[in-house]
């Protein structure tokens, strides 16, 4: 069973302007979730908004039976979610979808996060901490105060590089510039990226250019979240090589091999 109609809110905290982290008590989810998978949350029992909202699993504490999601308030659903308080319950489906493929032993991993894209990558970082791979984290945002969770990322001691659009912290420019250099210097064997579409597109192009493997966490409007409604599709290369196929972000994704995505 992956449907929990009454998951308890343990706490909710604002981590940056308009950015919240919600901790839920969900031992089954916590025990089985893999980095890159997501939760499909019904924010209200009413009809406003009607649909569930998907959020990546951002962290899991198996001891305590907790999972967290990290999200930005962008509309009605996330605004309502931000009002949830300790002790209230949410209707949660999950973990859903296909997560990241962990690097092979010895592979150097690079995690590229744009803005709220750090959400699933943080969980990946947590998981990689148990392995021996070397890990780069490239973190981008528009301005310094929107760089999320720097201290907490630091705790895992990756090689951390930062970029902001306005140069208010770290490199000035898009985070993909950091990746470009990393790849040029052959410091990454496997790349994981999550962020705005334009960023992911650049990442995919860089990976192709350097012949490096990587995975992208995509977003699309979702209905069911389980593969039944075919609304969340993205364009991917088709298996038989002809034309293309629409694949479901909720079931065949949200994580896709970068080279499969057609932009």
């Amino acid at each position: 069973m992956k449907h929990f109609p009454a998951v308890e809110v343990i706490r909710q905290e604002m981590v940056a302007p308009d950015c919240y982290r919600l901790h839920l008590f969900a031992p089954e989810i916590s025990a089985s979730a893999k980095p890159g998978q997501f939760l499909h949350i019904r924010i209200t029992p009413g009809l406003e908004p009607l649909l569930r909202r998907p959020f990546s699993v951002h962290a899991a504490d198996r001891q305590k039976g907790e999972v967290a999601v990290l999200y930005r308030v962008v509309g009605r659903g996330t605004r309502l979610l931000a009002e949830k308080k300790k002790g209230e319950t949410l209707d949660v489906m999950g973990p859903l979808g296909r997560g990241f493929t962990l690097p092979a032993p010895g592979q150097k991993a690079a995690l590229v996060a744009g803005g709220i894209g750090i959400a699933p990558l943080f969980f990946l970082l947590q998981t990689l901490a148990g392995l021996k791979n070397s890990v780069h984290v490239l973190l981008g945002a528009r301005v310094a105060k929107e760089l999320l969770l720097i201290r907490e990322i630091g705790a895992y001691k990756p090689s951390l590089m930062v970029a902001t659009d306005d140069g208010s912290r770290g490199r000035r420019g898009p985070v993909t510039e950091l990746l470009r250099e990393l790849l040029a210097e052959r410091k990454a064997d496997r790349v994981y990226a999550c962020g705005p579409t334009a960023m992911l597109k650049t990442v995919a192009a860089l990976l192709q250019k350097h012949g490096v493997d990587g995975e992208l966490s995509l977003e699309e409007r979702m209905g069911c979240g389980v593969g039944a409604c075919l609304s969340c599709v993205c364009k991917t290369s088709s298996k038989d090589g002809t034309s293309f196929a629409y694949r479901r972000v909720c079931l065949e994704g949200p994580v896709f091999p970068a080279r499969d995505v057609i932009w």
């Binding site: 449907h3 649909l51 389980v226 609304s231």
Partner: protein, 305 residues
């Protein structure tokens, strides 16, 4: 009191209860198997099938509207052959009738799909979709016109020994007239309603929000339109009706039944609540018990009396 009877007969098919899934909202069953005991469903209506695989429409394919959603999937499906080979075997495991929803670009295609499904074991009935607003052909052009609807019905009836359920569109001047034409052409049952044609515009981009421009409206917003359609068709023809459109709880399902539906299908509600079908089923049972009604069939069309 004994447990009330929930068994209903539709088109010669005996369903253990009147709660079905609506085509296109429940995939091929396997997707929801982790969430729903498929054995407890009255029936499973699978995603619309065509002769060849279909890519479907470009995304975005879904947008929320007040108490509803618009979708423009465009009948993406792997084709009837792939369904038979890869999806039907899974469904055969369950003691629940599988109803195949079919569509086509032409009469010939409807016939070809119907023939392929007729041979297969594990298909209980065909639901003929002549009402999809999201494809250029193979949908509404057959459902909008009573005589075209009758033609498809006759052709499919001839091509199959399975019970034929024809699925009607609300996007017509008189759904009763289409129902009569389809009934005369030999349909064994009717299902209604398919989605209402609709669209929204993203005012920031100044463009339609859906990749396909227009889509089909479903969900609670359309329920009053659907109940009225069932009411009208119940008066127009004697065929059993499968009612759907915005059902999210047992009370909604009972509205359709009292308006004349012998069974109901749950669509959009699955997305909000994967347990919707099960809750609706137990809610109907509770209503019957509380009101000391021994048989669900006593309620069918009772609001007309």
């Amino acid at each position: 009191m004994n447990k009330p009877n929930l068994t209903v007969d539709i088109a010669g098919l005996r369903l253990k209860n009147p709660v079905l899934t609506a085509s296109g909202t429940f995939g091929f069953g396997s997707e929801y198997a982790p969430f729903v005991d498929l054995n407890r469903l009255g029936g499973i209506v699978v995603k619309g099938l065509t002769l060849e695989p279909r890519l479907g429409n470009p995304p975005p394919r879904m947008v929320e509207t007040p108490a509803g959603i618009l979708n423009s999937i465009g009948l993406q499906n792997p084709g009837v052959d792939c369904f038979l080979a890869e999806h039907l075997p899974f469904l055969r495991q369950f003691a629940t009738p599988v109803i195949a929803n079919i569509a086509g670009n032409s009469l010939q295609e409807y016939v070809a799909v119907a023939e392929k499904l007729t041979g297969a074991s594990g298909i209980a009935a065909l639901e003929v979709n002549i009402s999809c607003p999201n494809v250029k052909r193979g949908g509404l052009q057959f459902g909008a016109d009573p005589s075209a609807a009758a033609q498809v019905t006759r052709a499919v009836k001839k091509a199959t020994t399975l019970p034929v359920i024809v699925k009607l569109s609300p996007n017509v001047t008189s759904i009763g007239e289409v129902a009569r034409a389809v009934a005369e052409a030999g349909a064994d049952a009717l299902s209604l309603i398919n989605t209402l044609a609709g669209m929204t515009i993203d005012i920031r981009r100044r463009r339609p929000a859906l990749g396909n421009i227009t889509g089909g409206l479903s969900g609670p917003a359309i329920r009053p339109v659907a109940v009225r359609a069932v009411w009208e068709v119940y008066q127009a023809v004697k065929l059993p009706i499968i009612g759907m459109g915005g059902i999210v709880c047992a009370a909604d399902a009972l509205e359709f039944i009292m308006a004349g539906a012998r069974a109901v299908a749950v669509g959009t509600a699955n997305f909000l609540n994967p347990g919707a079908t099960m809750e609706i089923l137990s809610g109907i049972e509770r209503f019957l018990e509380e009101n000391e009604i021994g048989d669900i069939n006593e309620l069918v069309g009772i609001a007309h009396e």
